[in-house]
Subunit: 117 residues, 2 copies
Amino acid sequence: MSNVYDKAHELARTLRESDEFSNLKDLHEKVENDDVAKRMLDNFRQLQLELQQKQMQGQQPTEEEITQAQKQFEMVQQHETISKLMEEEQRMSTVIGDVNKIITEPLEELYGKPEEQ
Amino acid sequence: MSNVYDKAHELARTLRESDEFSNLKDLHEKVENDDVAKRMLDNFRQLQLELQQKQMQGQQPTEEEITQAQKQFEMVQQHETISKLMEEEQRMSTVIGDVNKIITEPLEELYGKPEEQ
Ligand SMILES: [Ca+2]
Ligand SMILES: [Ca+2]
């Protein structure tokens, strides 16, 4: 299995050296160093998390929570750095998802794709 | 990102060509082609799944279910092919987990390790 681990490290290195990772890192640092942007993003994520947890417990969000979430979403969308960061995070998340699919393909040969079960 | 995808495919190929994957595949086929072994393993997995789902819903398994699970576990442990298959599956699952850790290390630089949050 040492070849597999070598290849995994090569893949991680390629990811770390990609323009996409570099962009993501720059944007992340830019937000971390901007108190207003950081608070705005933290608040947004906190509210998203709370709404997710509610949903997972089968609870409906209140009308006020929905309005607040929409307002915060518009705010972060209008913030240039945050909206770019969120876009790059989405892109990276897609890549990681694709990579996971590629890597687990050999096992799908044995167990079938999850959607087929 | 094309390099990242290339490296992911190389990794998948290395995994597919490993002795561990080949062993897993042979054992999987051996069980699939043995009606008694297949039924034994299917029953065991079905019960494991039911107990997990109960636990996730916060329910305690009954004393009878625990006894049945232990009995089935002993049975599959004593079955040479099934116990070898489960061992190889455990090994593969560890490798996949390690690989995921290696690949997401670059992102941990930005967001911290999950256990630190
Ligand atoms: Ca399939
Ligand atoms: Ca850390």
